[in-house]
Symmetry: C2
Subunit: 793 residues, 2 copies
């Protein structure tokens, strides 16, 4: 919402930073930091959401109400008492105060800059002749936020200031919660007993870290740990505690805690004042002490440790870095995209039972970053396969993990993702030996090779076909909430039929050398499925989304809502079901019905009422999530499929539409540091919402985006025999270059694209190659590849 | 906390109203209204908590964050975005505004009066030369709050005002939530789809009412339904929406809703303006329409219906009304106590599986108010007894109800409560035929009489005794969180042993005529238990609380924490285990260790760390709930036991200590309209918290309080042969009178108490009686009983 009147957002590619100069025009704009245990998302106004895996997701800073245990929700709404990290700055002479970064005082007309970096989040605020710089980094391992405040006195007068870090702790337990200042630690320390009632839970809650602390390297002048006492009648925006000369020293005794301390400082003209604040979660007081010691042992400790934190947050040896002359695009692909892929790798979407579908697709991205982790991930998934071939709905990451939420609902598409993930892994790493590795089943100890597991998975999918060779949808497929199409046992999914077909074809390619008979069989079944889909699911201009239990096709032209879905079209191209005319028709239909300035919608028009023969999907808010948003995961399938059809310009335009630009950040209500799982779709009555970000950065999109970039756009794809070079540059590009790391080798690639009818040309370290398959690349070697591409006149 | 410097609370006995003249000195002070479906608690500042049973508890107005599903918690903490009902009042000439009742603007130095009545909650606020009267009643059946605002222009000038009702709706669903103004209904209407994922839940969520509406009898000038848009950068205390000339007409589209409308009005000097607002929950638009029609059909409809609501909230034909010359006490017993008892009757503590222990004790209170309901309740409990005699931990109120929360933990005391409840019922109603009624079991269809069910229940308790004849505690007794004393199968509970003894004795009395052999047997076992308790559980000055699995007595003088518990002492007197010296010693110990100005603590000193041989109780916050609060349910057991020991002054003083007075309301942080489940206990380091109310009005206390008043204090107790008169007036009383309704008869009783050694005298309608058992009282007749009591010199 809002228009691009006065852009206050810009990208600094040199510094890999994103800058926002208004706290009000893009209030949801946020940065995020993570380490192997912790995710911290902070918005430009100072509100923060933090999750620590121990190993189930837990929170040390919450709102003042008992919050539901739920998964990370899209379109988070902020409100005054949303957890945040604030610094009140008070001039003790005038008694005026303001707050950093913006909340809770919300001073207006102040010079403001919010900067999102890969390794830190920063603010620069100038107000009351004070120049303030605030930054946060995250400890490389622990749930410890490292805040550093610098204040410079810009005036000609000595200033008497009070500086009050004020960090939310929030409601933690109806059994026992309290907080107070611990003089020995020099910390506000909040403790709680996680609420429980059953005896068996005691050991579990006992194992949890529950000590939330805030400390600095020095003793404060005063403190309070009691939210209500701090606010008084003034409220969070004008707290009695700040208006008083000293904080009241109130503990929270079975009351809502907050951590606030007062540091008094006299600042000469131009003098600077530094205040570091550590905030986080610890097992006990001893650990708080250790952490304090670690960061403040000597004068250099803090900077040294912050530098370690920043190093840990910067990824090394990336599979691709690009220079295309489009800074926003280069920046996203080289910096932010791998970060988001790596975030998925490290924190598994903040759950201990990631959906198998997500887990396997995330591994496609992880595969580019870390072979070992990808291999282990695939093995973990396979080891949870049942003897009948079925992969579970969720992958249990540890022995105590349980299937929760959506994973308690059976979905029929799970097995599809195994060959798709496997192929990406095999292509990148050429680890075909992996297929011969032995793994047992979740329900029997019999060992079978990875290849055999794959065959069983495919046989299971074949077993899910009805007499027509269409895939039964049961209680859902990739689209979780499409839960009432086939729950009576008859309804089929066009998309799942096509996905089954493609999965069989991919499996056939993987298995070609190992079990040619099976491979042939899978290919034959895929053909039958394609035929069946064309016979039963082609609606004239596009493919339907499925056929309900009652035999009614949906996602068809006669539907008033949910007339056309994106996925069946894209996957008909992947599966090779669509003939050329069908491809053209269906792509034209996508352009007519699904296109928005921010990408294609997953379906349109969005449902506005429940369809009991489709299900929960139709109850979701119109234009959000699966109900007609620009659902980026579906968009990226479409883009990947466009590349398979050599639609290089349409595909590239799709990639760019997915990214936040300097000009549409305000409309999207997000910065260009991640791809959200969706943007709001175009709903007739809600036009102003089109493009609004979900703010949720858990999405299978990024793995596929990376794959599209590496394998398709720049055409640098792994192959059994080496590196297969098949660039699909947009026609507008002339000179671009990339750095590709591949199987240990480093290849600098320059592309030159010209109009002309000459054959393309590959020159490796000065030698013209006769093929586009580069063999014999040696690990640890560096290469220079020059590619001349020619566009037909 | 805080002292009685300047009492701002007073009780108006004539009007049955409680008045509070400050919004800041007792900020948690609240009133409550209820009907058979809905509970509404509103505090003096305008924050509100409402629950609708459909039939599981649900909320139509919440905070802006996804709240946990939990039971009603004690010591609720308020914060800016806690759900509330506010009216902003703006002078359109000066553009100044304030808000009723106090939040969110929090104008200071304003004339303020909060009035809690039985049938309505009111405020009078004078500010900016406007005299505002606000009141709320609750529809007699539906979840519809009826707010009525009256504003009088006190100035000599015509005033241009805008009046904005602003009611919280809050976060309802991540699937679908929205709100907007519906011009046809003239209502802000918010709808949502309750979040769910499993197919089987669809029917359930479909049955729920999810339309939250706010409407008036007239069309507003402008509206907004979007919290964030309403607040803008100003915040809830200074909303952009109010500062603008008109509200922005923003819907909430998958955003947090609020209901705000603007009514513009010109008021001549002394002119008054009335604005009614209905706020509540409806199944659909048609029901909203019906409700509007119902309240605003003609000019009299509103007042007529409000009068119906008030009538429904006033109880009729109460079992006792008293006049003792102590207005606060009279007022509480005659007005507020029966209301709280009836609230328990109607809403069953806002759950569909009340703990059996609570359910049966609540029936003691209900028994005085409504025989039919009490009888049906006991039958319902008995019908859920297992064939082996065990009553379940919770009573399922409907077929879909499930055992939740604490009812998933087994407790060994459940059966104790059956005879105790039964006796109270039989005493009041003389319905001994009830004992011959046939009821089946939950696990077999065999019919057994109520008496046989009782016998089985007692045999089950006997089966729970160990070789010493002490009762095994398993995972807990009356004290739920005492869950690790006996989970290994050996630990015993002193209290439960004594409770078993008393339950057997009570059963023996009930069964005397029916099964004298069993009665005798139960009496004999009770004696054995008493002996065993005296042998193993007497610690020298008081009874221990139990013996752990490892054979360690606890609640004993050698314990540093949890040295003494209240319940074992009181129940040793009830069970007759304590000899006279033991009674004196243990009462002296109570006075030494447990007494506070607000009643006796349940144990002391409170635990400050986990004891793994006692359990979860020791993890609760010190001084709260079971961990050393003045837990009123335990206090009332003690008072009841004191009455059995004829300690009339100590008992009466206990009753009075439990009630909020004009002088300690600020310390208790509550008004005198209910008994909370606890006041904070006296913890050495937390002295200022002693007496603070839990604000939670779900408690077994009130049933026993009623019983103490009727049967003990005024000694008007039912008996097989009539009304047994055994008054236990405190020695300070001289002339008191009560109105007792008993088995259909109405008896006006005057008590005269004098010092002297004459025998007591009962005069019924002028005739002196020879016994204190009044026989032959006829239903529908009125009697006058004069009682002369003499205190020994």
């Amino acid at each position: 919402m809002g228009q691009d009147k006065h852009p206050c957002y810009h990208i600094d590619s040199d510094m890999h930073q994103l800058h926002l100069t208004s706290p009000t025009q893009n209030p949801g704009a946020s940065g995020y930091l993570y380490n192997p245990s912790t995710m911290l998302q902070v918005n430009c106004r100072g509100y923060a959401s933090a999750v620590v895996m121990q190993p189930e997701p837990s929170r040390y800073s919450t709102s003042p109400v008992q919050e539901a245990t739920t998964f990370w929700q899209p379109e988070k709404q902020y409100f005054a008492h949303h957890p945040g990290r604030f610094f009140y700055i008070k001039d003790e002479t005038s008694k005026e105060f303001f707050s950093l970064p913006y909340e809770p005082v919300r001073q207006q007309g102040v010079s403001f800059k919010f900067t999102v970096g890969v390794d830190r989040i920063e603010w620069q605020i100038e107000h009351m002749q004070l120049k303030c710089h605030l930054q946060v980094t995250l400890d490389s391992e622990l749930a410890v936020e490292v805040w550093q405040l610098n204040i410079e006195n810009l005036s000609d007068q000595e200033r008497q200031l009070s500086v009050y870090p004020a960090f939310s702790i929030g409601y933690h337990s109806w059994m026992n919660q309290s907080a107070k200042f611990d003089p020995e630690l020099g910390a506000v320390l909040a403790t709680s007993v996680p609420p429980y009632q059953q005896l068996g839970e005691y050991q579990k809650i006992n194992a949890l870290a529950t000590n939330c602390f805030m400390l600095s390297d020095r003793q404060p002048q005063s403190w309070t740990a009691n939210l209500s006492a701090f606010e008084g009648e003034g409220g969070l925006h004008n707290p009695d505690g700040i208006n008083a000369s000293q904080l009241g020293g109130e503990a929270a005794n079975y009351e809502t805690p907050i951590a606030v301390v007062q540091h008094q400082v006299a600042l000469k003209p131009k003098q600077q004042y530094q205040l570091p604040v550590l905030f986080g979660l610890a097992k006990d007081k001893a650990q708080v002490k250790d952490i304090k010691q670690f960061y403040f042992a000597d004068e250099q400790s803090l900077e040294r440790q912050v530098s370690v934190n920043c190093q840990a947050a910067r990824l090394k040896d990336l599979p691709i870095q690009i220079d295309t002359g489009e800074p926003m695009f280069d920046e996203f692909v080289s910096v932010w995209l791998p970060k988001q892929v790596d975030y998925h790798r490290q924190l598994q979407r903040l759950t201990t039972d990631p959906q198998t579908r997500n887990f396997l697709q995330d591994l496609i991205g992880i595969s580019f970053l870390n072979q070992k982790r990808a291999r282990a991930g695939i093995l973990k998934a396979i080891s949870q396969q049942a003897g009948n071939g079925a992969l579970p709905d969720g992958i249990l990451l540890n022995d105590d993990a349980e299937l929760k939420y959506i994973n308690q609902v059976p979905h029929q598409d799970i097995n599809v993702w195994l060959p798709i993930c496997l192929q990406a892994y095999l292509d990148e790493h050429n680890d075909y030996e992996f297929l011969t590795e032995n793994v047992a089943f979740v329900d029997n100890d019999e060992q079978a090779t990875v290849a055999q597991h794959l065959i069983l998975a495919m046989d299971y999918l074949i077993g899910n076909l009805d007499q027509r060779k269409l895939a039964l949808i049961g209680q859902g497929d990739w689209c979780d909430p499409m839960n009432m199409v086939g729950y009576k046992g008859k309804g089929i999914s066009t998309w799942l039929s096509l996905a089954t077909s493609w999965a069989l074809q991919v499996s056939a390619r993987i298995l070609g050398d190992i079990d040619s008979q099976k491979a042939e069989h899978f290919g034959a079944v895929a053909d039958e499925i394609n035929d069946a889909v064309n016979q039963h699911c082609w609606d004239g201009q596009w493919y339907s989304r499925g056929i309900t239990d009652d035999g009614k096709a949906f996602g068809v032209s006669s539907d008033a809502e949910g007339k056309i879905y994106l996925n069946p079209q894209s996957w008909s191209w992947l599966a090779g079901a669509a003939g050329e005319q069908q491809f053209k028709d269906s792509q034209a239909a996508i352009e007519s019905y699904l296109a928005t300035p921010f990408g294609n919608m997953i379906l349109a028009p969005a449902y506005t009422q429940m369809r009991e023969d489709i299900g929960r999907l139709t109850q979701k808010f119109p234009g959000c999530a699966e109900n007609g948003s620009v659902y980026n995961h579906a968009s990226i399938f479409h883009i990947f499929a466009l590349y398979q059809k050599n639609q290089v310009d349409a595909a590239f335009s799709g990639l760019k539409q997915m990214l936040v630009s300097e000009h549409d950040a305000q409309t999207r209500q997000q910065l260009g540091n991640f791809i959200p799982n969706y943007y709001r779709g175009l709903v007739e009555t809600l036009e102003s919402y089109n493009g609004c970000s979900s703010q949720l950065l858990h999405t299978g999109t990024v793995a596929w985006f990376y794959r599209c970039i590496i394998e398709e756009l720049f055409g640098l794809k792994g192959h059994k025999d080496g590196l297969l070079v098949q660039p699909k540059l947009p026609t507008g590009w002339e000179n671009v270059s990339v750095l590709r790391r591949f199987r240990g080798a480093t290849i600098r690639v320059d592309y030159q694209q010209r109009v002309g009818n000459k054959p393309n040309q590959l020159i490796l370290d000065g030698k013209t190659l006769s093929s586009n398959l580069i063999k014999d690349l040696q690990p640890d070697n560096e290469y220079h590849l020059h590619i001349n591409l020619y566009l037909a006149d």
